[in-house]
């Protein structure tokens, strides 16, 4: 009998070009390389230095997302880039993709989007693949049963040049989430609960496989949200074994095999799972049924509470510092905090289901007058679908801004920023000091919670809307 293997073990060994030796890490093959404007220019320079082409341009896919404006072009046709340097960086990606024959989803593409929204939408992301990108939220693609992780720019150059990476095999962890999530609890809440349990560094050195009834019950967009946030616990990759939900999502997408070939591929994909007795270096069990809608209060994604709970007591100097930065006192009711900005979007929560959830909360309601709310679709496909459903009308009627797709206020490098000292409730992934602009204070939550906060103008949950009489 063969040794039982985890899904991660199987993906790892299937991509071994050369096994690890005592002195040299394994060489693993990369099936899909996603590229964006910010972390790629110096990677392309390596090719020019070596005078070589991109080894597999057909396995490389590029988009504009991080630094681009989310406001439309002005009457002069000029897009409002935050700086000329940002515009030059986008032009550099355009030039690089042209020179090296890479498919780029530029402004004119109806598929352009945040790299981790676009890949799955196109069906470029497939089970069993190794996927990398110069972005830590590449873990998103693990939702399809792929080994997907973020890399630095030097490694972007390695993959462009050789389609491979030198890697030591990480340790493995399984996170089992048993039971059922309550109806008002989302994948974002589940992820924030997992990160709180593990701590922001509890996953360091590991690849995580998510399993259990509550994970199985998630739709693909929710699975992407969960895997996306894996890096916030320090683990480079998170994955979920493919099942019928995965197959149904992928069928008919542009870059998957079509017809009979798809069904054959699907049969193989459904084989990708951890063996029954697979051994993990670490395994934890969590109960979904006790998880509540959750919001962060500190400066790392592990510092969160259930909506309605007060700000906890700090347990060390770093938590004390976080509370000070955020302007919270321990024991204070979170609901006392006025919210100034609400951001719905990002590779974490910028998909169509997130916008539907947002619109459902906003329908027939108004964003509080002191709140600026930005809703930024994760991709052109998401934007077009939302507009076809009239979600944008609901969102605009409520008083929120409806923007063009991009990373926007999640990384705040395109000019969409939270002013110093202001509080933002954000559906993104990081609440680090200054993440959404110097001096900004970020509370991470689900789209539902974010929309409820926008309406009530303070920290609140959807349940609070029902108990409050609003003037529409």
């Amino acid at each position: 009998m063969s040794v039982p293997e985890s899904l991660f073990d199987k993906l790892w060994s299937a991509h071994l070009v050369k096994a690890q030796s005592e002195s040299i890490p394994a060489i693993i093959y990369i099936d899909l390389h996603l590229v964006h404007e910010v972390t790629s220019p110096q990677g392309f320079d390596l090719l020019r230095d070596m005078n070589i082409p991109v080894r597999r341009p057909e396995r490389t896919l590029a988009t504009l997302d991080h630094s681009i404006p989310t406001l439309p072009a002005g009457q002069d046709g000029q897009r409002p880039y935050v700086t000329e340097q940002a515009q030059r960086q986008v032009q550099a990606l355009r030039d690089n993709c042209k020179q090296f024959g890479i498919e780029l989803h530029d402004w004119d593409s109806l598929s352009r989007g945040i790299v981790h929204v676009m890949g799955p939408e196109l069906g470029a992301t497939q089970p069993g693949m190794t996927i990398v990108c110069g972005d830590s939220h590449t873990s998103t693609h693990g939702a399809f049963g792929a080994l997907a992780f973020g890399i630095g720019t030097t490694e972007v150059g390695h993959v462009l040049a050789r389609q491979c990476l030198l890697q030591n095999k990480p340790k493995s962890m399984r996170v089992n989430v048993q039971g059922k999530l309550a109806e008002d609890v989302t994948a974002k809440d589940m992820a924030l609960n997992i990160i709180r349990y593990l701590g922001m560094n509890g996953g360091t050195g590991y690849v995580i496989e998510y399993a259990g009834e509550a994970v199985r019950s998630l739709d693909m967009e929710s699975r992407m949200t969960l895997c996306n946030l894996t890096i916030e616990a320090g683990a480079r990759a998170g994955m979920i074994a493919p099942d019928q939900t995965t197959i149904d999502y992928l069928r008919g997408r542009a870059k998957v095999p079509q017809g009979e070939a798809f069904e054959l591929a699907a049969e193989q994909w459904l084989q990708l799972a951890s063996d029954e007795n697979a051994v993990f270096d670490h395994e934890i069990n969590l109960d979904a049924s006790v998880m509540r809608p959750t919001i962060t209060y500190g400066t790392d994604p592990g510092m969160s509470v259930a909506i309605g709970e007060p700000v906890p007591q700090p347990t060390n100097a770093s938590q004390e510092k976080a509370l000070k930065y955020m302007g919270f006192r321990s024991g204070q009711a979170m609901s006392e905090r006025q919210v100034d900005v609400v951001f719905v979007g990002s590779c974490t929560n910028g998909r169509i289901s997130d916008l539907r959830a947002t619109a459902n909360v906003l329908r027939g309601r108004r964003v509080a007058s002191h709140v600026r709310m930005l809703v930024v679709p994760g991709s052109e496909k998401v934007r077009l679908q939302a507009e076809a459903e009239g979600l944008h009308e609901t969102i605009i009627a409520a008083g929120a801004e409806w923007r063009l797709p991009g990373c926007s206020m999640c990384i705040a490098m395109n000019g969409d920023i939270v002013p110093p000292g202001k509080t933002a409730v954000s559906t993104s992934n990081r609440n680090f000091e200054g993440r959404q602009g110097a001096g900004s204070r970020t509370l991470l939550a689900s789209p539902e919670t974010a929309a409820a906060c926008a309406v009530l103008g303070r920290v609140a949950g959807v349940a609070d809307l029902e108990s409050v009489q609003e003037v529409v």
């Binding site: 550099a92 973020g150 390695h158 030198l166 990480p170 560094n201 050195g205 200054g434 001096g439």
Partner: protein
């Protein structure tokens, strides 16, 4: 990349835990197409006030910061994004070594790819260093040792472990791409064998 063998110099201590890459280099400085001058923006929001003026007394604004080749950071240093700009900014500012009791995965691999040595020490050793701001220590990659002089004058030597390949490359200043280039036959063979899966 520049080789690293052994270095002695004063340490600069940033005691905070969980120093993330958004602190090390805020995102608005990521729009350049090269890494030239990126060290000037290291910890920009710590060093400068809202108007962009240097915060007086901020440790990184002291002249000694530029002459301290070794940064000792709090637990879980370099967490967050995969931006290589973070170790590039540290190198550009003048650091050659980062020491902590835990260093985030992607940050560490980025650092070793570009010649910034990332050293993980035991918690008590790390705690000792956190109290030694400005004092001189030695980091010896050949021996995998950090050597400090304790307050009673005794020399202490702490071993650290590091990925042997990272050490090999750092000691010789080797770029990893060369190892991939040398594996061309194996890569081509892999592609030939897997080609059916690609159709």
């Amino acid at each position: 990349m520049q080789a690293f063998t052994k270095l002695s110099g004063p340490i600069l201590v940033l005691e905070r835990e969980n120093i993330d890459t958004d602190q090390i280099i805020p995102a608005r400085f990521l729009t350049a197409i090269d890494f030239d001058g990126i060290g000037e923006h290291l910890f920009a929001d710590w060093r400068n006030d809202a108007n962009g003026n240097p915060v007086p007394g901020q440790v990184l604004n002291q002249s000694r910061a530029r002459h301290s080749p070794i940064l000792v950071g709090g637990h879980n240093f370099g967490c967050g994004s995969s931006r290589e700009h973070a170790p590039q900014a540290l190198l550009g500012f003048g650091f050659r070594v980062v020491i902590s009791s835990q260093i985030a995965d992607i940050f560490r691999s980025n650092s070793h790819n570009i010649g910034l040595l990332a050293v993980v020490l035991e918690k008590d050793q790390h705690a000792t260093l956190l109290q030694m701001d400005g004092e001189e220590i030695t980091v010896d990659l050949e021996q995998c040792k950090v050597i400090v002089r304790a307050s009673d004058g005794d020399e202490q030597s702490w071993s650290f472990s590091i990925d042997p390949f990272a050490r090999h490359c750092l000691l010789r200043g080797l770029d990893r791409i060369d190892f991939l280039s040398q594996a061309e036959d194996a890569i081509a063979a892999y592609e030939d064998q897997q080609v059916q899966d690609w159709q």
